[in-house]
Symmetry: C2
């Protein structure tokens, strides 16, 4: 519904922009990184088109693509002639990411199950495994056993050895310092400040990267989804909590101490509703599933029955709202209005080219539809520029794991690209 | 008071960070830009120190610095021996920005006066001029006359011709698309969507860059102030409105459509206080000078006397608060609490290494002191990482103009650095 409403007239954030007077940030990224990302985003692309897209000379592109081919990141692919095309001389050649260059694993460590995927360098799924788990915090030792078991099963399914992988990406809820590889806090572990990347890396004998799970949704959109061609976009997830990821200049932005983007805990009401973090007035205290369940329990006198999951409670609330129950409707309406506050604050501050809404609660799009968008219009400052398009992507667990794989792919390719920078300087 | 409270234990946002597992964004900026910025930030720095700071080989640094010297951006400076040092062989040589390489002008177009400065490439002030003005909107033609007159006066004072300048940076309040050079809306003009960079450029015969005035405060901090060594920091200004500038990865972040960072119009209360933008619940409707004046007028029965400025009204309110008037105190206290909401939302979302508070209202630091910080502690999510330090910089009008000059310096140096990128690829 969102997508229709805000048709993509600014989908790439660039239309209507005249000749630039100040160089945009893009012109200052290393050209070899731009070339690689251009190829990756395009799938298959002729050299001459890369030169056109980046506004550089074909000679520069040829130099850089030769290097990238040599380091195994991309390859030449003969493209079949199109219908009616006569082939003269050599067949046309396009560039593509070399799918077989690397294989990586991605894992989503979550409350209900652990999922792993193995993908090739082009992101194609090779294998998938998952292990259910009891809710509640684990010890680090328990988590490491789960990680190792899961990876070995996925390798077996794929017919691969661990040593065939170039690395493992992992997503986990909570506060994660991706640069240090440290999980500062997660509801899934009984300890704080766990150097998970180092511990898991030692256990698996592979490079491991860990990140907050919402960043991985953003990473998956950047590598495989709607964000492939965009430099700046936001992802907002609504599940047990409210998460946010932000891609700036083609990269995940994490903050100086890698603990930013806590949209769910921005305050939308001074002395407001109690949040599970212990503070008051957090956005997620109005929008997350526990917030809706709390209201349902209070006003509709629906206690949590023994064994009844929050999902069942919310389904029932949703059914009542659809059937016209005024209280049930007002619960969703209030949540929708506060979501509008949160999203309009994201637009007012970050000015993204696109907002992607994701997560299980997005099924209740009744809640996040026309009225929420109308409310956003009342709350976004009128700069004279159109509102960014908003898309809903209802991703399953596998795609979160795909995002974790994208983290590994990104780390592998960035370290290869960075290794070349000194050579390039000489 | 802020500075003492939050002593700079994370001043560079990097202390306590162990060996990095994932390459940080920094490693992917072009090396020649990193070298230039390293020299610029340091003032004077030996080659070997540049190599150490950036973690690259001295050979790479030598290659790049030779290029930068050739293109006139930096120069070698013989450094005098330190006390007690014996000089053997050649004197020690350091690198510095070549001050005489370029001269630029910076202008602040504001409600009360227009100010211009001329600075050299190292940011040293050469001349300064200002012209007072009547408040209220102007026509574009009137503004161009003011700009030209002001620039000519500043040139005369400096003993320079216009042609001696490499460009002019301009700051103006409102919504400005810096990349397009268009003023989308400003309270100072009677028209929307003015291509001010092109119009002023044609009039002056010089390259012109325009930007929102708060971005220029951030730019000034980045080039000349507390942000010289930082990659990510926020600037929040409190005057007639509440503005924000944000430096991400050593560059001003502006958003996909260049209209982001509108902190003053993020919503801190659904259906809240009326803002001068016409919406309700904006942060500045609780914090800006007109918000305080409105409360003073209401509760203390102080009407605006004929000819009495808002400044006089606020001074009186401040005096009453200091003298113990409970209502006057509660006005400042509420503003301080909402400022804490705004600042904690900035921390929760952007995770900056530093927040710089700027603007005239910062004189009332009574208002923004210990209690506001304590409130921030209640509102910031506890990630286990320390709160970023907060510094108050009470900048005068000249320094805003200095920021406009930094915009010009930045554009000039970036276009020179970008021009080299293709050569480097080959």
């Amino acid at each position: 519904m969102f997508t229709q409403y805000a048709a993509g007239d600014t989908g790439d954030g660039r239309k209507g922009v005249g000749p630039l007077i100040l160089p945009l940030a893009d012109t200052l990224r290393p050209l070899r990184q731009q070339v690689f990302e251009c190829v990756r985003a395009a799938g298959l692309i002729p050299r001459v088109q890369v030169a056109k897209d980046l506004g550089v000379s074909p000679a520069s592109v040829t130099t850089i693509t030769s290097e990238l081919i040599e380091s195994g990141l991309i390859e030449e692919v003969a493209t079949p002639p199109r219908d009616g095309e006569t082939v003269r001389g050599r067949p046309a050649v396009a560039l593509g990411v070399r799918a077989s260059a690397h294989r990586v694993a991605g894992m989503k460590i979550s409350d209900r199950e652990q999922t792993a995927v193995i993908v090739d360098f082009a992101g194609k799924l090779i294998a998938e495994e998952s292990i259910p788990r009891r809710p509640g915090p684990m010890t680090v030792a328990e988590l490491l056993v789960v990680i190792e078991t899961l990876l070995d099963r996925a390798c077996e399914t794929a017919g691969l050895h661990r040593a065939d992988l170039s690395g493992v990406g992992m997503g986990i809820p909570g506060f994660v310092d991706c640069a240090e590889g440290v999980v500062l806090w997660t509801p899934l572990l009984d300890t704080r400040n766990v150097a998970l990347a180092a511990l898991a890396g030692a256990r698996l004998g592979l490079p491991v990267w860990v990140d907050n799970e919402t960043n991985l949704v953003a990473m998956a959109e950047l590598w495989f989804g709607a964000g492939r061609g965009l430099s700046d976009f936001a992802v907002v997830t609504i599940e047990h909590g409210v998460g946010m990821g932000f891609v700036m200049n083609h990269r995940i932005y994490r903050g100086a101490q890698r603990v930013g983007l806590e949209l769910g805990h921005t305050k939308v009401q001074l002395d407001g509703a109690l949040c599970r973090c212990g503070q008051r007035g957090c956005l997620e205290a109005y929008v997350a599933d526990y917030a809706l369940a709390r209201e349902a329990t209070t006003a509709l006198n629906w206690g949590h029955k023994e064994g009844q999951s929050i999902t069942v409670l919310l389904e029932s609330l949703y059914d009542h709202a659809k059937a016209g129950n005024a209280t049930a409707r007002s619960i969703f309406r209030r949540a929708g209005r506060y979501l509008a506050v949160g999203l309009s604050n994201v637009v007012n501050l970050f000015d993204p080219a696109l907002i992607i809404l994701s997560g299980e609660r997005m099924r209740y799009d009744y809640l996040y539809a026309a009225e929420t968008l109308a409310e956003m219009d009342n709350l976004m400052i009128n700069t004279g520029r159109p509102r960014p398009p908003i898309e809903i992507h209802a991703w399953g667990v596998r795609l979160w794991a795909h995002g974790a794989a994208a983290l590994a792919l990104s780390a592998v390719s960035e370290s290869l690209l960075a290794a070349n920078r000194e050579i390039a300087a000489q």
